[in-house]
């Protein structure tokens, strides 16, 4: 039997029952590797329920720095869930390692003989060590982490330190956790040849990096960018964004003396209300946001049209999940692109931003408030579950203390006094963006009526066709202004000159390196462009025009990004080749490369099979 041999380059899957405390233990495992300086990408696949159903946690360890999902097959499975045991055993690559609880006898031969079985009597150890049944269950998880430490030759001190720092607030929990770790460690050391042929080795690759999820990073961005009003309605996978905002606001925004809060978070009764509150707050001059997922976006549709037409800044985080409808609430997709870009009836168009990693999410979250205010329009930050709810290795977050918040074109009382006549919708600067005033600014000047109906330049209700056309053509102009204001795409040149390009948004960035390497191995060179915003910057057009063929990667069935590109820029569809992935799991480099090669007519003899 072949045995997989790998150092710092493998995938280990934890198969658990949800609600059994495994998440903390698995995170402990992943973070220990992170602290050992090894690039690692943990990924949670959880069910849409609270307790008792299968949940998986894949940890990819990759010294090469490949942080995307590798594929369905893994090198090691920690199979803790009887419900999914068969399926989990199947998911192991030949020569891989199956870690299981051997308290009850399992006829391993019945399953597979081309893998290594590593049985640790976890339950037995727990029965012996703990009286309280809850402790038994919880520590079982820590014990397997301890065993893995021995099996994979992890740095035990790193794990202990991590426990110590995690339980800083509850010191007395430290010793029992360390004890549990040692129980596993000792058992494995005694009973197996440690380390296995698959193992880790300390490196120094995570300098100046942090391990953080995208929702948290976005929330910190919102705190830094001076967001004061958050209104929301709970929905997976966006909930943790607002919860993180609350956490950091509670920490940094409460006046120590008075206890006054320099923020307000309101759990709305639904998404319509959440969006209404953001609109009201922004209209009144605060920096406000909400976060939701697909169904919430659908419910906000009417209000998004109002904000577009009445020109109210809005920041909306859409943490995308599998659609349509309730769809796959705990799976990832980028399938709200069209519904967000054209949210609402009539000729509505919305600004989209596409963060691709936590640092980017932080920056884009912070910038979003400036853009929304400058452009006086909704800005939708398009995250997805993959970015929002998983921990990623990311550059450290940065802030320039000299940065000022951009509230856009707002006139104060003095400025109003100098004006002959104020026109809310007068395009004074020719960029399509007009001047607003906040309620209460001036006793006699600058008041206007905000409405979702057509109006003239002085905000007076009008049903005249010419007033309407004048106004909506200005909005088109404003979008042209937006295109050049918003972040440019990031372009990655191939090592050799390339006739093909590849274009994507958001988390697909995660597989970019691996994809490029795989293609290069076959002598294929492709320039890549990560689009960061819609409306599209002129560089997007340039990039596409420069290449003969351009692959557009869509994490949805209907090729929505490709659609948006063609719609808005009049590219010839024949030139834009569609790559699609939409089963709810994060996309793999192999999937993309296979589709690219088949589109290019290159037979698939690459290492795809070896890896998938």
């Amino acid at each position: 039997m072949n045995t997989i041999t790998a150092v710092n380059e493998f995938v280990i899957r934890f198969a658990n029952v949800n609600g059994t405390g495994s998440a903390s233990a698995n995170m402990l495992f992943a973070k220990s590797l992170f602290r050992m300086g090894i690039p690692v990408s943990p990924r949670n696949m959880f069910p849409s329920n609270i307790q008792g159903l299968p949940t998986w946690y894949d940890v990819r360890v990759s010294e090469k720095g490949y942080m995307g999902r590798r594929g369905e097959n893994v090198d090691m499975v920690v199979a803790m869930n009887p419900q999914s045991f068969e399926r989990d055993v199947k998911s192991l690559a030949p020569g891989g390692f199956l870690f299981y609880d051997s308290t009850k006898y399992i006829d391993t031969g019945k399953y597979r003989s081309d893998i290594q079985w590593i049985g640790v009597p976890l339950m037995e150890i727990c029965q012996r060590e703990y009286q309280n049944p809850r402790q038994r269950q919880l520590f079982k998880n820590i014990i397997y982490v301890g065993a893995l430490a021995a099996l994979l030759e992890m740095d035990f001190d790193v794990i202990k330190d991590l426990i110590a720092s995690q339980f800083k607030a509850k010191q007395k929990l430290i010793p029992p956790n360390i004890h549990a770790l040692e129980l596993g460690y000792d058992y494995a050391s005694k009973n197996f040849d440690c380390p296995l042929s698959i193992k880790v080795k300390a490196a120094d690759l995570n300098k100046d990096k942090i391990l953080i999820d995208g929702n948290t990073a976005s929330a910190i961005g919102a705190v830094y960018s001076g967001a004061t009003v958050a209104s929301w309605y709970p929905i997976t996978p966006s909930t943790s964004l607002v919860e993180a905002f609350e956490k950091f606001a509670e920490r940094f925004r409460i006046d120590k003396e008075t206890g006054e809060k320099k923020f307000a978070i309101i759990q709305a009764e639904d998404e319509l209300s959440a969006m209404g509150m953001v609109i009201g707050a922004s209209w009144n001059g605060a920096r406000a946001f909400t976060a939701t997922s697909g169904p919430g976006v659908s419910l906000m549709t009417e209000f998004l049209g109002l904000a577009y037409f009445a020109e109210i800044p809005v920041v909306l985080f859409d943490v995308q999940r599998g659609g349509p409808s309730t769809g796959m609430p705990t799976r990832t997709q980028q399938s709200d692109i069209l519904s967000c870009a054209y949210a609402s009836h009539g000729d509505s168009k919305q600004v989209l931003l596409f963060p691709s990693d936590p640092k980017d999410a932080f920056d884009i979250a912070a910038d979003a408030f400036d853009y929304a205010n400058r452009l006086q329009t909704p800005v939708i930050v398009m995250l997805d579950l993959e970015l929002g709810m998983n921990d990623w290795i990311s550059d450290e977050l940065e802030w320039d203390d000299k940065r000022e918040y951009d509230q856009g074109k707002v006139l104060n009382a003095e400025q109003l006094d100098k004006l002959e006549r104020y026109g809310r919708y007068l395009d004074v600067d020719g960029d399509g963006i007009t001047y607003r005033t906040y309620p209460g600014t001036h006793p006699e000047k600058g008041a206007f009526f905000t409405r979702g109906t057509s109006r003239d330049e002085y905000a007076v209700y009008s049903e005249l066709g010419e007033d309407y056309v004048h106004n909506v053509d200005r909005l088109t102009r404003k979008f042209a202004t937006a295109a050049e204001l918003l972040p440019k795409p990031v372009i990655y040149k191939a090592k050799a000159s390339a006739v093909c390009g590849v274009v994507y948004v958001g988390t697909t960035a995660l597989v970019q390196d691996e994809m490029t390497d795989l293609l290069e191995q076959d002598g294929i060179y492709v320039d890549a462009m990560k689009i960061r915003a819609f409306p599209f910057h002129s560089d997007v057009k340039k990039f596409i025009n420069k290449h003969q063929k351009v692959f557009v990667i869509d994490i949805n069935r209907d090729a929505q990004l490709r659609t948006l590109l063609i719609n808005e820029e009049d590219f010839d569809p024949a030139k834009l080749l569609s790559i699609r992935h939409y089963d709810g799991m994060p996309v793999t480099a192999v999937t993309i490369v296979e589709q690219m090669k088949s589109a290019l007519g290159i037979s698939d003899n690459s290492n795809a099979e070896k890896r998938a």
């Binding site: 992170f34 995570n206 990096k209 953080i212 910190i220 705190v223 830094y224 960018s225 001076g226 004061t228 009003v229 209104s231 950091f248 940094f252 925004r253 008075t258 006054e260 809060k261 320099k262 307000a264 978070i265 309101i266 709305a268 009764e269 639904d270 319509l272 209300s273 209404g276 509150m277 953001v278 609109i279 009201g280 707050a281 922004s282 209209w283 009144n284 001059g285 605060a286 009417e302 109002l306 450290e396 977050l397 940065e398 802030w399 320039d400 203390d401 940065r403 918040y405 005033t437 309620p439 209460g440 600014t441 001036h442 006793p443 006699e444 008041a447 206007f448 009526f449 905000t450 979702g452």
Partner: protein, 351 residues
């Protein structure tokens, strides 16, 4: 009624309030509602109240939904910002606005369709949040702007201008408001300035959520066919033509009656409404009694008017959320941004 230009001259003898402003300073643009529409009377009630309270108009924010009633903010306090949002969602927009700047006075205008149908959820939840605002429903039992469909506040058995008698139970907005925790709840009649203006003043002065259910007859659509009035050429014409294309100019319906008494108001179509004013010694601070009182009068087919319930010590959303006294929108970078140094420690906690 609008095609007469508004007179532009200012009468130098008009009384001035503490701010030195006259009632003219509280006007908005000319109304485009039907002649005699009750909503216009509410507008002038609001002007009068704000004038008497010496509120500087620009410190008011007027927010509304969609409907004839929701159009009215254009017709008063022209120097105040207004927001005519979307149908049924005024409460959430008002909530956001108020949270952003606690220092303004918030007046929310809505209709019975806007509030009791599409907006019922938002209505209840803004009450629960104790938003510091005056919420007025111009209640006509009908959808004026879409030409006369029954609303959810229309009494069961009422005869609308088109279609069969209303078969559905009505929603009593004042009862709902008290039940859901509103701390100032009143009902009035648009044509009764003596009662309405003081109520508006008290509501604006109230800290917390103040609700006024203001009966405001739609002279064009409501309660038409129920009339027993004699032959009316117009009515027959409209019936035969199968469309409501003739809308006669009507006079505003007004009334005046003393506390503790009742008044029968005749509507234009001849139907009659029984208003009962609360007695002067009524103590509006007891919620259970207030609800009981309402139920008893409802059962008698009487519409109780006046200040039904008030909690003079009410708190508001900001109290509950403990938000800073400085309006959130006034806070600047130094108040809001934890800064680069703190960010390093945040980074450290994720490494």
């Amino acid at each position: 009624m609008s095609y007469m230009k508004k007179p532009q001259f200012y009468n130098p003898d008009l009384p001035k309030n503490e701010l030195g402003l006259t009632i003219r300073d509280y006007e908005g643009s000319l109304s485009t509602l039907c002649a005699g529409c009750g909503h216009d009377s509410i507008s002038s009630g609001i002007m009068q109240a704000c004038f008497e309270l010496s509120i500087s108009p620009h410190t008011v924010a007027k927010i509304s939904g969609i409907g004839c009633s929701s159009k009215t903010p254009t017709y008063y306090l022209g120097n105040a910002h207004g927001f005519n949002s979307v149908h049924g969602r005024m409460p959430s927009v008002a909530t956001g606005a108020n949270v952003a700047n606690r220092d303004l006075t918030y007046i929310g205008m809505s209709g019975d369709g806007d509030t009791a149908s599409i907006g019922l959820g938002q209505f209840v939840h803004v009450i629960r949040r104790q938003l510091n605002m005056l919420y007025v429903v111009a209640n006509n039992g009908t959808y004026g702007l879409t030409k006369g469909q029954n609303s959810a506040t229309l009494d069961k058995g009422s005869k609308p201008k088109k279609g069969p008698d209303n078969p559905w139970d009505s929603i009593d907005l004042v009862t709902t408001a008290i039940q859901m925790g509103a701390t100032f709840v009143a009902r009035s009649f648009s044509g009764d300035k003596q009662q309405l203006v003081p109520l508006i003043k008290a509501a604006v002065a109230h800290k917390g959520f103040a609700f006024i259910d203001c009966i405001s007859p739609c002279v064009t659509f409501n309660n038409h066919a129920g009339s027993t009035k004699s032959y009316d050429y117009v009515r027959e014409h409209n019936a035969v033509m199968n469309r409501m294309d003739f809308i006669p100019l009507q006079d505003e319906i007004t009334t005046e009656y003393a506390a503790g008494t009742s008044s029968q108001v005749s509507l234009h179509d001849g139907s009659v409404m029984h208003l009962q004013k609360l007695a002067e010694d009524y103590d509006p601070r007891d919620k259970i009694t207030a609800l009981d009182n309402l139920q008893r009068h409802n059962a008698d087919g009487k519409v109780l008017t006046g200040l039904l319930y008030v909690d003079p010590d009410a708190s508001d959303t900001h109290d509950v959320l403990a938000t800073s006294k400085t309006p959130l929108r006034e806070l600047k970078e130094k108040d809001l941004c934890p800064g680069a140094e703190v960010l390093s420690s945040i980074n450290a906690s994720f490494s």
